[in-house]
Symmetry: C2
Subunit: 473 residues, 2 copies
């Protein structure tokens, strides 16, 4: 149990707790390549689950996967002005191929808008070619100075959808549709409550007309932007000269979107659900739903273990059996740090009563079930755990959203209470900057379904928007 005991308490040092958990749960390891991490088998298995479930949704909604080049020639990155200004400072430049200096340097893609546009210019000629609904699963590179596993890394695994449409309405609908696919996935699969809304001008993506984001609150009250969906209008299309011949025989410029989520979602899982014993995985995303721990070297225990394993297999519930020589206490602790949703303990004493013990990872309550029926109960236990985890996260999140109507109230909350602050805003970037400079809080996203009946929380002038402020990862 020594390994697990080494986890710092999350209320003592949240940052240390986080790195302890990612490391001890076997999600990530450090490499000797500065700024790059190794995604270990268990961490990668979680990512594969995410990929599988999201990819299915993308395909069901008509999207197709493609693979674009990994390199962007400097001249191509330079085509859209805002975009290059946003990304050029943080890209990795390839300048040599073998021993030859390249005529033009290439950056490793930090995102692939320009590559998709360059391709779309070639293949979109007629209204019949629209919409184009492409997605790509790949690794991108951003040359970050300080890095943290899953949250900020030089190499990021993600998916990026890039679509082209004949009308503005269709493109906006696409951006919102994908936003809601993300939202649904995060709520119902990751059990993470998310605030969903438009970003302010200051916070939007370099080159977008409108950016929508999913904002999750971590245990420490800090925001994690857990996915974005952008409406680009015709900005990139015009910069790249993408035009199609419409049914009315006129040349028109299409409307564009892009949307993406990354391995950051694993960071969110940890920081929303984890506890001092380690990871707690929502059943619908857990690669292994059940860990079976036989206790003691006993014939009856071995038989019961075999029986349970065969029932789990028949029920199509992913499981593993910990048959190592470690002590039961060590095995329990290890199962807890890994966050397997259900632990089954099979011990000699329980078996005398024809029982086994099941433990739900989130509440750690021991429940005894008859050997014969235990596996049948598991699907219900998993569903209950899934629902309870979401409710728990939602209650906590809601309890950490405050409302401020004056600068005094705002300052008081910002100084004393971790979490988000709901407030009204005049729309002036200077006010956004003041919040950032004084409290390191940024606007998270706009709220569009609440009344705006008090003035700007910063300057006191007439408010035009209502939004969430929060510190961010």
């Amino acid at each position: 149990m020594s390994e697990v005991k080494d986890i710092t308490s999350r209320d003592v040092d949240f940052a240390k707790w986080y790195t302890d958990v990612v490391k001890k749960a076997g999600l990530v390891d450090y490499s000797s390549v500065k700024g790059s991490m190794i995604i270990c088998p268990y961490g990668y298995a979680i990512w594969e689950e995410m990929q599988k479930q999201l990819d299915q949704k993308f395909k069901e909604t008509g999207h197709e996967n493609v693979q674009m080049p990994m390199f962007i020639p400097e001249s191509l990155l330079n085509v859209e002005k805002e975009h290059v200004e946003g990304f050029a400072p943080e890209v990795a430049w390839v300048t040599y191929g073998g021993s030859e200096k390249l005529d033009e340097r290439l950056c490793v893609r930090p995102t692939s808008e320009v590559l998709f546009c360059d391709y779309y210019k070639k293949i979109i000629k007629s209204y019949r070619d629209l919409p184009k609904l492409y997605n790509q699963w790949c690794t991108i590179v951003r040359w970050e100075k300080t890095t943290r596993p899953f949250l900020r890394s030089r190499e990021i695994l993600w998916q990026e959808g890039h679509t082209m449409h004949a009308t503005e309405e269709e493109a906006i609908n696409e951006a919102l549709k994908m936003l809601h696919i993300y939202e649904d996935f995060q709520r119902n699969v990751l059990a993470i409550p998310v605030l969903v809304g438009k970003k302010t001008e200051k916070e939007k993506f370099a080159g977008a007309v409108a950016s929508y984001s999913l904002e999750a609150m971590m245990y420490d009250g800090v925001a994690l932007q857990n996915g974005t969906s952008h409406y680009f209008g015709q900005g990139f299309a015009k910069a790249f000269g993408i035009q199609y011949l419409d049914q009315d025989n006129k040349l028109k410029t299409p409307y564009q979107t892009s949307w993406g989520v990354t391995t950051r979602m694993i960071g969110a899982l940890i920081m929303v659900h984890g506890d001092d014993r380690g990871l707690v995985l929502p059943p619908r995303i857990a690669p292994t739903k059940v860990v079976v721990i036989p206790i003691g070297d006993d014939e009856k225990v071995r038989e019961a273990t075999k029986k349970i394993a065969s029932q789990l297999k028949d029920a199509d519930i992913t499981y593993l059996i910990d048959e190592s020589n470690k002590t039961p206490g060590f095995k329990f602790a290890e199962a807890e740090v890994k966050g397997y949703p259900i632990r089954i303990e099979i011990g000699k004493r329980d078996l005398e009563n024809n029982e086994i013990t099941l433990v739900r990872r989130d509440i750690l309550e021991k429940m005894k079930y008859p050997l014969e029926n235990a596996v049948k109960e598991i699907p219900t236990l998993l569903e209950n755990m899934q629902t309870d985890m979401y409710e728990k996260a939602l209650t906590r999140r809601n309890s950490m959203i405050y409302e401020a109507n004056t600068w005094e109230e705002f300052s008081d909350i910002a100084k004393n209470k971790p979490g988000f602050i709901k407030a009204n805003w005049c729309g002036d970037e200077a006010c956004e900057n003041k919040v950032k400079d004084e409290f390191s809080m940024k606007s998270r996203c706009l709220i569009d379904d609440e009344e705006i009946d008090t003035p700007c929380v910063v300057c006191g002038k007439k408010a035009q928007y209502r939004l969430y402020f929060g510190k961010q990862y």
Copy 2:
């Protein structure tokens, strides 16, 4: 049909035929990034099928997926001498991060042996940590001067397995096990006959003790190395100082393997099975098994199309319906260039007899079936097509393997007959080089189950090996 008619005949210009097919079947497109290709939706869907099926086999045999960094610091690449000599001339070098020059340049991984070794050094401490059976799906970069879609590209999508074992025997068995998983997949899923064997010293991987390869013969008689599996011995492990404490309390060095296949396999599919009408996909790898083509704007045709679609869905057979406004002839040609295994034609005249027409892509024979029963026949048709395609490829391949006992015979075949030549060899690299210099043929792989009863085909000295020679892609 114009698009499809533009395919060059494969007997007129095989190279041109190949690029016509990859382009017109929608597998690949050219990008404005020199040397990099775009994998289009249909090409990527084939790769996803390959990934899915192989990944399942890897997992069934105990392998776990991980993700290593994409960059290798120059000093790390330099640790194993043979390896760096093999790869340094063809890597892409990152020298700047944003506007800052890097202290040490980083190459984009051309393969990840050194990254895995660097990590294994850290995590392998005890005999209990062995074996380590890791695999990675990723993109690698090799700075090729001349490129061809799927065959030779600057960016390659692949998987690379890297394993560590306590004993030499176990490591060799692993290398052979994975070789046979590839062989089985290529024979039974891709319907590609492969010669499987050890590479000569000259042709083996930089840093390996033994390399095994899968050698497929393309329609033009040229070899495509379609996957490799390497036994590394302790070379890398010693260079990296990887040691573990064994049960006898002694420090020991583990034994290593690596193995990989790439999107090259798509190139092999095209060049083994394709014909002058385009791609022909073996049913077991085809992402879409059936294309349904309704002919004419008719109520009965629409009804029958709906019925067939619903039956295909119920039978879990992937399909698509071509309801575009194009002519039937155009649709047939398009279905043929895409290589969908089965085409269903639903026409008014057939329906008067309560029949529809099915066409197998490989033999293009039209078969009429009663509307009610047609879908039931499809699984058998697909299986027969799969078997026939393998048999056809095998027969052709075998008819193009020749045997040479003297240099005169060898020269005559090499000059006049495309294909492989089976011959005996003394083991001297000079003889291998002579074959390469005179005929651009390399040794493909050793044959270990045939008698060696004639001298070296090149120098006439006593032969030690029997092997295949062939030109290669």
